[in-house]
Structure formats: C-alpha cells, structure tokens
C-alpha cells in the first residue's frame, strides 16, 4: 500500500460541494471594511485612553500638594464632550450620516427623505446640502471670513440622522445599502451639528 498523502487528500476532497452562490469577493470586502473601521476605532480609543493617562500623570506631577483625589477624578471623566461624542460600543452609533451620490436626482433625494421620515429606527432627520463646503470653511478658518488656502470641491449632500437606539445602527445601515442615490451610510462620532427639527 504505497499511497501518498497527497493522493488521499485529493480523494478526501472529491465530495467537495459546489460553493454557495453569491459574491464571495463582495462579501469579504464588506466584512473587511467593517474590520478595518473597528480597528481604526479601537486605535482611536486606545490613543484617547493614552492621552487621558498622560493628562492624569501630568496633573499628578504638577499638582501643588499631594491630592490623589483630583487626578483620579480626571481619569474617570475622560472626554469633556457631549453625549453624542462618546466612543460608542462597536457597531453602535447615535448619529448616522446618509451620504448622497454626486449624481443624485431630486426624485431620489425626495424618496430617501420620505423613507427616513417613515423609518421607525429614526428619531430626527436633518438635511445638509452639497454646499457643506461653506460650513466646513467657516468651521476651519481661524480668523472668521478669511479665505482658506484651498479650492472648494463638492462635499456631497447628506442627511444627518439621529437614531432612536444606537444599538440599531447596523440594522439602519443595512436598510439603506443599495438604495438608489445613496453613496453610503457612516457613523458620525462627534457631530458638530446635531440633527434637529429646524433643518427639516
């Protein structure tokens, strides 16, 4: 019996079923993108934790008198930011941005808007037109009104959406994948503008 292992392996593979239908590459790309986002978030969280630790250490060093309570308090309240700016549980998000394609038609946009309004997962919707560049340059130019050192380019229009439950972010994203006119859905970690009724 002089059978090599390779031959036996080949026979063991003979009952190989047909691969399940579906786009393996596409599925892997979607999943891979999620993995990358999660890693980026984790790295960001780690960096934030590091900054807090360093701050706590500096406070400890520069504190005039040994007051152990003060640095502890600093370490316990990591970010002096609002509720929406807290690092969410992976896969959760309180605020989501639905970015529209550059070539979105008015009909598509209206359809997306009414769909968002009807969505039970959504609490508040606001629309941000494609001129977001103006808002961007206002936010980023240090002397108000100074012209920034770059040319305007189109920032796509988007809907900013506040979700009823941050844990339902994934379900929300799944609902808008492939909808005509939608470029993508992303989580908004630190919205400088919270969605409000006035923008509707």
């Amino acid at each position: 019996m002089d059978q090599d292992l390779r031959g036996l392996f080949e026979r063991a593979l003979e009952d190989e079923p047909v691969p399940p239908p579906g786009d393996l590459a596409g599925a892997a790309m979607a999943q891979g993108t999620r993995i990358r986002r999660r890693r980026t978030l984790l790295a960001g969280g780690g960096a934030a934790a590091g900054v807090v630790l360093i701050l706590a250490a500096v406070l400890q060093l520069t504190a005039p008198a040994p007051q152990p309570a003060a640095p502890m308090a600093a370490a316990e309240t990591p970010a002096p930011a609002g509720d929406a700016c807290r690092m969410p549980v992976s896969g959760h998000a309180a605020v989501a941005g639905v970015t529209l394609r550059e070539d979105v038609t008015a009909d598509q946009q209206a359809a997306i808007q009414s769909r968002l309004h009807a969505d039970p997962l959504v609490r508040v919707v606001s629309f941000h037109a494609a001129d977001a560049y103006t808002r961007f340059s206002m936010l980023w130019s240090s002397p108000p009104g100074a012209s920034p050192a770059f040319e305007p380019w189109p920032i796509p229009a988007s809907f900013l959406v506040q979700l009823v439950d941050p844990a339902q972010y994934k379900a929300f994203v799944a609902g808008y994948r492939g909808v005509p006119g939608v470029e993508g859905v992303s989580r908004v970690l630190c919205p400088d503008v919270t969605p409000s009724r006035e923008h509707e």
Binding site: M1, D2, Q3, D4, L5, R6, L8, F9, R11, A12, L13, E16, P17, P19, P20, L24, A25, A27, A28, M29, A30, Q31, G32, T33, R34, I35, R36, R39, F150, E151, P152, W153, P154
Partner: protein, 176 residues
C-alpha cells in the same frame, strides 16, 4: 479639487479589482485547505470568507507583497487556531479515535476517510504542518514562515504527525 476625489475613487476601484481577481484565483484552493483542516465544508466556507475579509482589511498594505498565497495561508491558519481556542471550552476533544483502528486491508477504498478522522486527532498545529507540507507541497522553510516557528520545529512536528498517522493508519502507510 474634484479630480482629487475621482482619482481616489479610481484608485480604490483598481484596488478592489485586484482583490476580486485574487479571490477568483485563490479562493478554491483556500477553501480546500480549510476543509482539510476542519473536515467541514460549511466551516471551510466561513473560514475562507473570514480569511479574505481580514486580508481586505489590510489590502492596501499587502496587495503588492510578493507572496499573497503564503500570506493567505497564514491568515487562514490563524483563523483556524482562533476558532479552536474559542471552541475548546465547549467541545470535548477526543485524544484517540473512538475505536482503535485495526489493520486496514490493502488498497482500502475508504482510507481517505480514515485519514481525515486520524487527522482530527492530531494537535491542530501538527495538522497544519501536515496539510501545508503534504497537500500544499510547501517547503519546510515556507511552512515555518507561515506558522511563525523555526524550520526545526516544523520538521519535528511533521515527523511526530506522520509517525502518529502511521500508527493510526497501519504500519506500512506513508513511506517517507
């Protein structure tokens, strides 16, 4: 600056095309190797997808590396080891085949079934060495690089695994 966004988009499309081509060329072999490691086609499919997803997550960095094939084996094996670790809490691992194998007749048509059962009794890293060495036909050095161990460890594990298979499958099996 519109050209900047379009250029970025085009670059991403080229990258995705690369990845799709890699999946088309490599996923069948990847799935087979996964099957030999876990003896379950469904799980093999899942492992393949996990492997590809993990590769896509760092695709920008790895797409130009010389040996994507070896890299994919490494990711796959790590996925198998991870799975093993996570499952070991809830699973009873049989150290021996349920029935001690008697002598198998000459040219046993079911020998490959016995081989798969015997493979499952090997430590998972020994199994990886056997599959990579004798199914993928990789050199000792290549296997060592994939598994992140020294070549002498691979040689030792390979010998240990083969002698164990020989015990399980019959003395005169595998003359190497």
């Amino acid at each position: 600056m519109r050209s900047w966004t379009t250029a970025r988009r085009r670059e991403r499309a080229a990258r995705d095309d690369d990845f799709t081509a890699f999946v088309a060329a490599g996923s069948v072999r990847l799935r087979r190797t996964a099957y030999l490691m876990c003896h379950d086609w469904h799980l093999a499919q899942d492992l393949t997808q996990i492997t590809l997803a993990k590769m896509y997550a760092v695709w920008g960095r790895i797409r130009h590396t010389a040996n994507l094939e070896a890299y994919s084996r490494r990711v796959l094996m790590n996925a198998v080891f991870d799975l093993r670790k996570r499952r070991s809490a809830s699973e009873i691992v049989l150290a021996e085949l349920p029935e001690p194998p008697a002598r198998y007749p000459e040219g046993d048509p079911e020998l490959h079934v016995t081989l798969m059962a015997a493979l499952e009794t090997l430590p998972v890293r020994d199994r990886a060495v056997v599959v990579l060495r004798h199914w993928e036909d990789l050199s000792v050095t290549a296997v060592a690089e994939i598994l992140g161990v020294s070549p002498s460890v691979v040689k030792m594990q390979n010998m240990r695994a083969l002698s164990r298979l020989r015990v399980l499958l019959g003395e005169d099996f595998i003359r190497s």
